[in-house]
């Protein structure tokens, strides 16, 4: 392990008693608990952490927080690797491994920096003007893009699935306090004392916010934290970022529960996503220090002044020995004194010339040099700053005048003022307002349930923050109807330096020659320079949004947290307008980047969506069925008889068996709806195209429903159980939609009908028993009931029992065979199936799956999903006979629109291949036997199968003027598969069109 050259012997909030090692770019680095990766790197003297995106310039740590634009690293390795991690927010832990994301061969020596030599040819938007190519196609650009893409991006995505787990928590509170700095802590205390249920969410590991970066105020902090933590109605979430504010006072939070270790403890989530429904909230999100823009302001060693203070006081790291603090406000003066006391030679370069005496005397006492009325114009140094050039300020627009002087230094701390963190406010649909006194964007107007407090609301000092926080907490509690007495809270005793008194907002410093130095960077991550902004303006990209998009300023991973306001000020200057007239860009969620895994929680893999299982599923699984998804259901597709039997062989075998003997298929997934009430028959007459009021008790009827626009919606068979009760079945896929529609009609326009509908899909297991021996099998299973053709004709039902369990037997056929559907209370479904299999053994009973069921229905010409595609009419599907002429029904008017009545519409036909050995693919297009094959054809093939009965391939299709073309030879063209198959057009029903078998 190496030394920690910049770690002070005393001070900071780290645990010096414990030392561990972390690895950065294959180098061992010493760290202590309480360090961040950035503080450890700085303590160990690491200057260059990354390279910039465009010009590969060396970049070091800039900040100490979430706004970090430079120090992005590839954290961890293997399946747990995380690109673009901010070293400033990554907590150090033993065994941490991180790497720079750019630089070849190394981040210290990056050959990519050669790009910098061509910088002048790469101004903002240069790619819009080049790579166009001479020919009218995309080839030249795509050739160039190939190389451009190679340079794209920064970090590397993991290659393997994430081994860690995540969880989602729903939370409710009266007051959510975002941020636990002085304002947030005060707000939480006030709200909790008033009796509100409070959630206090802090992105940092520790509570305290900016107080953690100071050496005074600890007594107040400890007392306040202790009281807040002691209250039973406060839940404190640390390491928790409130990333988004949404409608309904709902907030999205991510807690990095176990991100500060390499591998979370067993069963513990790495991150936890909190969805907080708050009755009201306090936004105490603080403010982010704004850089100053000057020549070479991107060199390692140029840092945010407040970050220098944080590294000093929180981490015991003195980032430099000769420090220049460049500012235009008061906030750096306390920092200067602290840095000087820690042993650094400190020079303040303050753009303001008329400094208050109080500041001057303090700095004199602390042996800090002050150059008032000066500005840093340029830095010197190759890979880190070694000196700065300063010049006297001239005017208020960032101008300087000669002569220049040079000050040697190893760190430059910059403070251009502070930018309140208004992201959550903005996400609630509000525009911030520019305050010309405070030189900052502040919340505009009010949202009754969101109160801003502290620096984000414009509080200038910690004293202000505490009082505004306490008031905000009480106000938020009152908004949630808690008006208990919150008492008072004394502020900490601090000598506060604000950032507002006499402050200046300078977009960029000009050299004495009047020019902004070439390497003055606004967006440090995207290398956006002043010249880029000037060019954008020159070319007419004068809206802030155009500027952002044309120059990419503010579009990096930090989303402009440090760069937006300065760039905006520069644009305002160029336009000759005040900042309020130029406006600002909108903050979009998330406040800081959010990992996908966190939000998804446990809804991953198989549990991405719920899966429905039939009550008989266990039997199918034990039998070795091959399953397939049907809607949300998992259903047996076929039951392989040997491991090698494929689906094709399997379904043909199963379908053939049904026609020869008897088969069972599990149709439990059919939608089933109880329709009850005195007006049930009237209701069904309205929703079905055909008549149900005439249906006799004990009988079944097939029905079709239309959408209101006249297209076919769904079909199914309905039984009349009594005068006032029907049992409706729907297709599996549409079950939910049909149910919702029936409820809609009954609860809105038809609320006068005394009808209620209830889904009973889960109440019943349904087994279809089909085949010439089906009656024999059923009769043998339910001895007492009379299932003869006379007692139970087709489309009738009977009540019976299987082994003492009452069941209902519907005689109906989907396969065209003699067939029944047996309805069994669900928990008996499995054993009823097993019983049918047992009893049926002598009759050769066999199970069949959805594939064989489909083959049988195609042979019979029944329509299903391929035909009921939401674009077909009754006529298209040869179902016109089901349209009653004696009554009105939903869809009956709009189905008569002219295009839907057009006799040339594609309508249902059967297709049989002329060469029985060739198959057709569903989705093939239909064309006449001769002529061109182009356009949309005469229709398409909707369903196909091999017909065991006919010994050839058949299909259903929708063919223009179909019924008039029986016997015609047409071509089924599968362009994608490169096949053309000649078919003869037939009626849709291929097998037993007279229904002899099903009526047997």
């Amino acid at each position: 392990m190496t030394m920690q050259p910049n770690r002070l012997a005393v001070g900071g909030r780290i645990d010096r008693g414990t030392t561990f090692s972390i690895r950065f770019n294959d180098r061992d680095i010493v760290a202590h608990p309480g360090d961040t990766l950035a503080s450890a790197l700085l303590a160990n003297g690491v200057k260059i952490v990354g390279r910039s995106f465009k010009y590969h310039r060396p970049r070091g740590v800039f900040s100490a927080g979430v706004e970090e634009p430079n120090a992005l690293v590839q954290l961890r390795e293997g399946a747990r690797t995380e690109p673009n991690s901010r070293a400033t927010t990554v907590e150090a832990y033993p065994g941490l491994v991180a790497r720079s994301q750019s630089g070849w061969p190394s981040v210290d020596t990056d050959l990519g920096a050669i790009v910098g030599a061509f910088a002048r040819f790469m101004p903002a938007g240069f790619y819009y003007k080049t790579f166009i190519g001479p020919f009218r196609n995309t080839r030249w650009w795509m050739f160039c893009e190939h190389f451009i893409r190679r340079a794209a991006g920064t970090g590397i995505a993991p290659a393997a699935p994430d081994p860690d787990t995540y969880e989602k928590v729903n939370a409710f509170c009266d007051v959510l306090v975002v941020g636990a700095g002085p304002a947030g802590l005060s707000a939480a205390l006030a709200a909790a004392r008033a009796g509100a249920r409070v959630i206090l969410a802090e992105q940092d590991r520790d509570l305290g916010g900016s107080l953690l970066d100071q050496t005074v105020g600890d007594t107040w902090l400890r007392a306040t934290v202790d009281e807040v933590a002691s209250l039973p109605n406060v839940r404190i979430l640390t390491r928790t970022t409130t990333f988004g504010a949404f409608d309904g006072d709902v907030y999205g939070l991510v807690e990095r529960a176990w991100d500060h270790v390499d591998v979370p403890p067993p069963h513990q989530p790495r991150q936890r996503y909190w969805v907080v429904r708050a009755r009201s909230a306090v936004m105490a999100t603080g403010a982010i220090e704004r850089p100053l823009v000057f020549g070479g302001n991107d060199l390692p060693g140029v840092m945010s002044a407040s970050a220098l203070r944080a590294y000093l006081n929180r981490y015991g790291v003195l980032c430099g020995r000769k420090i220049v603090l460049f500012t235009a406000n008061d906030s750096v003066y306390a920092t200067a004194g602290e840095l000087a006391r820690a042993g650094a030679a400190v020079t303040i370069v303050d753009m303001r010339s008329d400094l208050p005496e109080e500041l001057r005397s303090r700095t004199a006492a602390a042996k800090v040099d002050v150059l008032a009325g000066f500005a840093v114009v340029n830095t010197h140094g190759g890979k880190a700053v070694t000196a700065v050039t300063v010049a006297a300020v001239s005017g208020r627009e960032g101008g300087t005048k000669g002569p220049v002087r040079r000050i040697d230094c190893d760190v430059v701390g910059v403070s251009g003022g502070f930018t309140p963190t208004l992201h959550l406010w903005s996400q609630r649909g509000r525009k911030p307002r520019f305050d010309t006194d405070k030189l900052a964007f502040l919340p505009d107007g009010s949202i009754p349930t969101l109160v801003c407090a502290g620096a984000c609301a414009g509080a200038d000092t910690i004293t202000d923050a505490v009082s505004s926080g306490f008031a905000a907490g009480a106000k938020a509690a009152a908004a949630a109807d808690f008006v208990g007495d919150a008492g008072a809270l004394a502020p900490p005793k601090l000598a506060d330096d604000g950032w507002q008194r006499g402050a200046m907002l300078i977009s960029a410093v000009r050299a004495p020659d009047g020019e902004i130095p070439a390497k003055s960077f606004f967006d440090l991550q995207h290398d956006v320079k002043s010249t880029d902004i000037e060019l954008a303006h020159r070319e007419g990209y004068v809206s802030v949004e155009h500027l952002k998009r044309y120059t990419t300023n503010g579009m990096a991973t930090d989303q402009g947290k440090t760069s937006n306001v300065n760039a905006l000020a520069r644009l305002a200057e160029l336009r000759g307008s005040p900042i309020p007239a130029v406006g600002t860009t909108t903050f979009r969620p998330p406040y800081t980047p959010v990992a996908f895994g966190a939000i998804v929680g446990h809804e991953i893999g198989r549990h991405f969506r719920p899966t429905r299982l039939s009550p008989i599923h266990g039997w199918h699984a034990a039998r070795g069925a091959a399953f397939i998804d049907a809607g949300s259901w998992s259903r047996p597709r076929y039951y392989p008889v040997s491991p090698g039997e494929d689906v094709q062989a399997g379904y043909i075998r199963e379908a053939r068996h049904v026609r020869a003997a008897v088969g069972l298929v599990d149709v439990s997934p059919l939608g089933k709806i109880a329709v009850q009430g005195p007006d049930a028959a009237e209701f069904l007459d309205r929703v079905y195209t055909n008549m149900f009021s005439t249906l006799k008790v004990g009988r079944l009827r097939y029905g079709v429903m239309l959408r209101d626009d006249g297209f076919v919606f769904d079909d199914g068979t309905t039984a009349r159980l009594s005068e006032t009760e029907f049992f409706m079945s729907t297709t599996t896929v549409n079950a939910g939609k049909v149910m919702a529609r029936l409820e809609f009609l009954l609860q809105t326009a038809w609320s006068d009908l005394k009808v209620q509908v209830t889904s009973v899909s889960d109440q019943w297991a349904t087994i279809a028993v089909a085949g010439p021996k089906s009656r024999t099998l059923l009769q043998a299973t339910c001895g007492a009931a009379d299932l003869s053709a006379q007692a139970l004709p087709n489309m009738a039902f009977a009540c019976a029992a299987i082994d003492g369990v009452p069941v209902r037997i519907h005689r109906m056929s989907y396969s065209g065979e003699l067939a029944f559907e047996v309805y069994i209370p669900a928990r008996y479904g499995h054993s009823a199936w097993a019983e049918l299999m047992r009893v049926g053994e002598p009759f050769g009973v066999a199970p069949y799956g959805t594939e064989a069921m489909g083959a049988l229905r195609i042979e019979k010409g029944h329509v299903a999903g391929g035909e009921l595609d939401g674009r077909t009419t009754l006529k298209d599907l040869a179902l016109e006979r089901f349209a009653s002429t004696k009554k009105s029904f939903a869809g009956c008017v709009l189905r008569k629109r002219p295009v839907l009545e057009d006799p040339t519409r594609p309508s249902l036909v059967g297709l049989m291949t002329i060469d029985k050995t060739v198959s057709i693919k569903a989705g093939s297009l239909l064309f006449p036997a001769t002529g061109d094959i182009a356009g949309h054809g005469d229709g398409h093939v909707t369903s196909t199968t091999f017909s065991p009965t006919l010994g050839g391939h058949i299909a259903l299709g929708l063919l223009a003027r179909g019924p008039a073309r029986l016997g015609e030879t047409i071509r089924c063209v599968d362009f994608l598969g490169g096949t053309t198959v000649n078919c003869v057009v037939t009626a849709p029903c291929f097998v037993d069109p007279e229904g002899v078998r099903q009526n047997a």
Binding site: G677, E725, Q756, D762, D803, E835
Partner: protein
């Protein structure tokens, strides 16, 4: 008689799973449902017809939307304006009354097989439920006898806080979704550590 088989058959193996935890912190089990019957009706007559019917089982009346009523081992949930779910430990109690009900005035429906009930009990129950449902399970908001109909893993479920001294919550879920919901429950329970027990 045919074998009665729960939708969760084969999915609940007794034992301790997930993180280490003290016994009893979180217990998951299947509660045998018994009989579940829906009683419906019409706006103009529901109160007058359904209230006497419920009183025959010992309930005070049709009840409100948020609180379940209990009468002995029977429970009544007012799930919608003219809709009540009745749960009995066995069908006998219901069947004695059912035959005489005028179905035109009070349509009833047997849903005993349509739901499966998972019981969550122990001090960590509220924490687990917060991971599963968008409902406030704080004691103040979800005390004994409260029930809600909400969504768990996109599935509509009824959640009932039993009036017992220790936290104990029953989740009524559509039987076809029971396995998928059970798995979602156990995945979320793992960070607490949980015990699967055979009986509710």
């Amino acid at each position: 008689m045919l074998e009665f088989r729960s939708a969760l058959d084969g999915h609940l193996s007794p034992g301790h799973f997930g993180a280490a935890a003290e016994p009893g912190k979180l217990i998951l089990s299947e509660r045998p449902l018994g009989a579940l019957v829906q009683v419906g009706g019409w706006r103009d007559s529901f109160e007058s017809v359904a209230a006497p019917l419920l009183q025959r089982f010992g309930f005070a009346g049709t009840g409100g939307f948020a609180m379940a009523q209990t009468a002995g081992e029977a429970i009544a949930f007012r799930t919608a304006p003219e809709r009540i779910l009745l749960n009995f430990p066995s069908p006998a109690a219901w069947e004695a009354v059912a035959a005489g009900i005028d179905q035109a005035a009070t349509p009833t429906l047997d849903l005993s097989h349509a739901r499966t009930v998972v019981r969550v009990s122990g001090p960590a129950a509220a924490g687990l439920l917060a991971r599963l449902l968008p409902i406030d399970f704080d004691d103040a908001a979800f005390g004994p006898d409260r029930f809600v109909q909400s969504t768990l893993h996109s599935v509509g479920v009824l959640v009932h806080r039993r009036a017992r001294s220790a936290p104990c919550v029953d989740l009524y879920m559509p039987s076809s979704f029971a396995v998928t919901v059970w798995e979602m429950v156990t995945h979320n329970a793992a960070s607490f550590g949980y015990q699967v027990s055979g009986a509710g």
